[in-house]
């Protein structure tokens, strides 16, 4: 979630790929998809509550980004621009009321390795994810970016073009609401 300009390793930069795609080499877009599909998969999964919904959202965001690629003003910052498209897609999905309560956390415990501890961990994860789905999209987003993706308030503020103070306010409301929901369902 940190790099803005490229893969950070070998290979062409995001800017080079975007320019090649715009010049007609459409297949090169697959390189960008490969590069960023998993980086944002977790954000989408936690925002929408399920991996299946995240897959649809990430796919749709990449298709939309392709359609609007000429509007990406700084090709070297493709990833930040793409993130905003995915974010809009996640919020639109939520407005449609199609968010899902995740069962993924239980499934993440490998078959054959279930134990009381693992089951309890999975149950706590599921309860928190359920509570997260009870927050507003904005509250859930700041929680996910900070506590799932590990971004600082400053980094989130830059990404979302807002102030640290307003993010903190959102987050602190989220904490209270999560506590309330977890107690109610305890």
């Amino acid at each position: 979630m940190h790099a803005e300009t490229g893969a950070g390793g070998a290979g062409p930069s995001d800017g080079e790929i975007v320019r090649a795609v715009l010049a007609g080499d459409r297949e090169r877009y697959a390189v960008l998809v490969e590069r960023y599909r998993d980086r944002y998969a977790r954000y989408a999964a936690r925002m929408l509550g399920s991996t299946d919904a995240a897959e649809d959202a990430v796919q749709d965001a990449f298709v939309r980004a392709y359609d609007q690629l000429a509007q990406c003003q700084d090709p070297n910052k493709f990833v930040g621009w793409f993130f905003l498209i995915l974010r809009n897609r996640c919020f639109a999905e939520q407005r449609k009321g199609r968010s899902h309560v995740s069962l993924d956390a239980a499934g993440a415990v490998p078959t054959g390795e279930r134990s009381d501890v693992a089951t309890e961990t999975a149950e706590r994860r599921r309860a928190l994810q359920r509570a997260l789905m009870g927050l507003t999209g904005e509250q859930r987003e700041v929680f996910v970016l900070k506590h799932v993706e590990g971004l600082s308030y400053m980094e989130i503020a830059e990404r979302l073009n807002t102030s640290v103070a307003s993010l903190k306010m959102r987050m602190h409301r989220a904490y209270d609401k999560l506590r309330e929901q977890l107690r109610e369902h305890a």
Partner: protein, 186 residues
Amino acid sequence: MTTHDFHPQVKQLLDGELTLTDLPPELRAEGEEALRLLAAVDREPVSLPAVTWRVMAALERKRQRRWTRAAWLLAPALAAAAALVVLLGRPSRPTASAPTGMVTVRFVLVAPGAHQVCVAGTFNRWDPAATPLVRSGSGDLWVATLSLPPGQHQYAFVVDGARWVPDPTAPAIDDGFGRRNSVLTL
């Protein structure tokens, strides 16, 4: 402030600005409750391997809708295959030929502007020139019919002797070199 609200200092703890030992003794229990909440955050990575081909197939479907439909008139099987990808390779539904146990497979590629197309894979020792497709129909269509033994085969198309193109509508796996191989299971 309701009974569910965390104390402001506990919120600072959740934000990572304080530690549990910084809290006054009367807030420790609340602090521990808050940390249990954070401990339930699911940070497991999420991987969406299918997104790449789904995106590229979706883009091609959109592009094909804008295309002339002439290619669709050539043959239903080819048309169905032609609907999906930029450079599209699609083995036709295999038909078993009883005497030898071999399976007849037709590879079809739509490759606008290509001068030469071959298929290379585990069945011909990845020779990029051994198995050429022949131009058919409108000139963008390339076809080859092979008899392959039952089993698992990996392949890719080689366009103009240099460009390795997987079949985006077929299952594909990482080739270990940063590209994708298409998979044919007979």
